[in-house]
């Protein structure tokens, strides 16, 4: 374990872990309000990546209905990221209207929301495949404009390379996390959101439009998911319409690790899993995909409420 390897792994882990945190917060927001996990979140993540790609690059691959179509305009990366996130937020609202609100109105079993959200995920993913094909999309190397591809410095004589994409991942994630925490703890709307999360009936009695806040939560969750998808897509490429499934499951590990419904917990969980993956020795790299789930399993057995979660009292 050389110091250079340590610094390199630490930077890699922080960069990917911060994106996990952003993505997982999308789950956390919905869970804290409805007590339900939105299984369409992984599909919104994928959709966000494709939307930003379309806006930034302006043309599509060789398969699918949109083959050969090109947009009349293209945007620089950052406006494309924001617009892609906004559109993914709208998709999040569509998920709420299609999969959650009809069931809530009928007072249906919570398990059904699991299947209906997966149904919406199936629709989204296959719609992407239908339109954009099943091929790999990689953002062009000059997507960030004139920035150099990587920053290289030396630690104890050994080189450490940080890719520009990783720095952008980390910076954008930090800004989003800080903005979200500020909005929830300091603004009037954030206060109302916390009231809805505490108790929907009481919040409604106090004059808060509960359905509007639920819709808004799904919008925020979609923005977080879509932008996380874009960030991962710029760094590692978009491996096809099913690109979000693995991250969707990883995000579940993140929120359970930190504690379901806890916002600082999701951030901590994301960083722990990102660092856990990064510090895995190179000869065990084929086990990398198991790291989040082994951690999830272990934490459920030792501390079921998660690292920062509160123990839920059982009510009769």
């Amino acid at each position: 374990m050389t110091p250079a390897w340590f610094i390199q792994s630490l930077l890699n882990g922080l960069s990917i872990g911060s994106v996990y945190a952003v993505f997982a917060l999308g789950y956390t927001l919905v869970f804290s309000i409805l007590g339900i996990i939105n299984f369409a979140h992984g599909a919104v993540f994928t959709l966000g990546a494709y939307l930003t790609y379309a806006l930034a690059v302006g043309s599509f691959g060789l398969n699918g209905l949109l083959a050969g179509v090109s947009l009349p305009f293209t945007l620089p990366f950052f406006p494309a990221l924001l617009l892609g996130g906004f559109l993914a937020g709208l998709a999040g609202m569509a998920v709420e209207r299609l999969a959650f609100r009809p069931l809530r109105r009928r007072g249906a079993d919570a398990l059904l929301a699991l299947v209906s959200s997966l149904g919406v995920a199936l629709i989204l993913v296959n719609l992407i495949q239908y339109l954009a094909g099943a091929e790999i999309y990689a953002f062009p190397a000059d997507v960030f404009g004139g920035l150099p591809p990587a920053v290289i410095f030396r630690v104890a004589g050994k080189p450490v390379a940080v890719r520009t994409a990783q720095i952008i991942l980390f910076a954008v994630s930090l800004i989003m996390l800080a903005g979200l925490m500020w909005a929830i703890s300091r603004t009037r709307a954030g206060k109302a959101l916390r009231a809805v999360a505490e108790n929907t009936d009481t919040a409604a009695l106090l004059g808060i439009n509960v359905n509007l806040f639920i819709l808004g939560t799904f919008f925020l969750s979609g923005v977080l998911g879509g932008m996380a998808g874009t960030l991962i897509g710029t760094s590692y490429g978009i491996s096809g319409p099913y690109f979000g499934v693995a991250y969707g499951l990883k995000g579940l590990a993140v929120i359970v690790l930190g504690g379901l419904g806890s916002i600082p917990g999701a951030v901590l969980g994301g960083l722990v899993i990102g660092l856990g993956e990064a510090f895995l020795p190179a000869d065990m790299s084929s086990w990398k995909e198991a790291v989040p789930f082994v951690l999830l399993f272990a934490v459920l057995l030792i501390r079921p409420q998660g690292l920062l979660g509160e123990r839920m009292e059982q009510k009769v």
Partner: protein, 300 residues
């Protein structure tokens, strides 16, 4: 009729096979426990059969046992599933609700990565050219059919006998059951392990049926499909998973003329079924027949 069976034989056997997986999710649900671990046991059972059916070290054993090799594979998968089911179930079933579902999702993922890393399981390519038990796909109903009858019989019988009623009481109210002196952990582990065993044996029967076996058998999508059979078919009757599997397995075939867009419609059907058939196909039928009977009684 011959044409029907030759072209749809595979589909028919597939429906029964998927119904078995649906039932393996149904059993833990009897005690109110949502487990998505079935697919992990299905995958493991399949690997047991695939390795026993193809590994060169076992050639002599296969030679001497002949057809009896298949029941031996089921037995090995059964024993492995029960041991592993107990090992996973005992700690995990202390968890409740969504935590249990998440822990079992994690279990299935760990199984997937583990088999991908085991040289004996053939890595990402998997194991192929697994010896066949029958010439035709339809004949595999001789494997799956009796198992389905057994699984259904156990499910129906459970509703009548003491232990089964205890299990159902946990679904209705776990706290009240515990207060009545029911050892809830024991009665939660029982249907869970039975579901695991069923999934494991189904996997062992499926490896020859599908001819190849790889890690794609144990994906998250597949485990969700099993849950969908139960919820779309109806979670309150053992017939639910059977009807659910029949509908959802044949749906992509029925929609085949639509080609690329058929999976989109598959998702639409899932969403619509959740909204309009909250108690599943069986639930909708039973309330319909109750209403018709009510009309008849009112008329007489």
């Amino acid at each position: 009729m011959d044409v029907f069976f030759s072209s749809y034989g595979f589909l028919l056997a597939m429906v029964v096979q998927q119904a078995l997986l649906g039932l393996s999710v149904y059993y833990p649900l009897l005690a109110g426990q949502l487990s998505l671990a079935s697919i992990g046991f299905y995958s493991l059972g399949g690997y047991v059969a695939a390795i026993m059916g193809t590994h060169p070290a076992l050639a002599a054993l296969r030679e001497s046992l002949g057809f009896w090799m298949f029941p031996l594979e089921w037995l090995c998968a059964l024993v492995l599933s029960i041991i592993l089911g107990l090992a996973v179930g005992l700690p995990v079933l202390r968890l409740r609700g969504i935590y249990l579902a998440l822990a079992t999702i994690a279990f299935a993922q760990v199984v997937n990565v583990t088999v991908l890393n085991m040289p004996i399981a053939g890595g990402a390519v998997g194991i192929f050219a697994i010896p066949q038990a029958f010439d035709s796909r339809l004949a595999y109903l001789f494997f799956f059919g009796p198992l389905l009858v057994l699984a259904l019989a156990v499910a129906f019988r459970l509703e009548r006998i003491g232990p089964g009623r205890v299990i159902l009481s946990i679904r209705e109210d776990e706290l009240a059951a515990a207060a009545m002196g029911v050892p809830t952990t024991y009665y939660k582990v029982l249907p869970f392990v039975w579901g695991c065993a069923l999934a494991g044996v189904t996997g062992a029967m499926s490896a020859p049926f599908l001819n190849t076996w790889n890690a794609r058998q144990g994906t998250f999508d597949a485990s969700v499909a099993c849950l969908a059979y139960v919820l779309i078919g109806g979670a309150r009757s053992p017939w639910g998973p059977v009807f659910g599997a029949a509908l959802l397995v044949s749906l992509p075939e029925v929609l085949r003329p639509l080609r690329d867009s058929r999976m989109i419609l598959n998702g639409v059907v899932l969403v619509l079924a959740c909204v309009y058939l909250p108690r599943g196909i069986v639930g909708a039928f039973s309330s319909l027949s109750r209403r018709m009977r009510g009309v008849k009684e009112a008329a007489s």
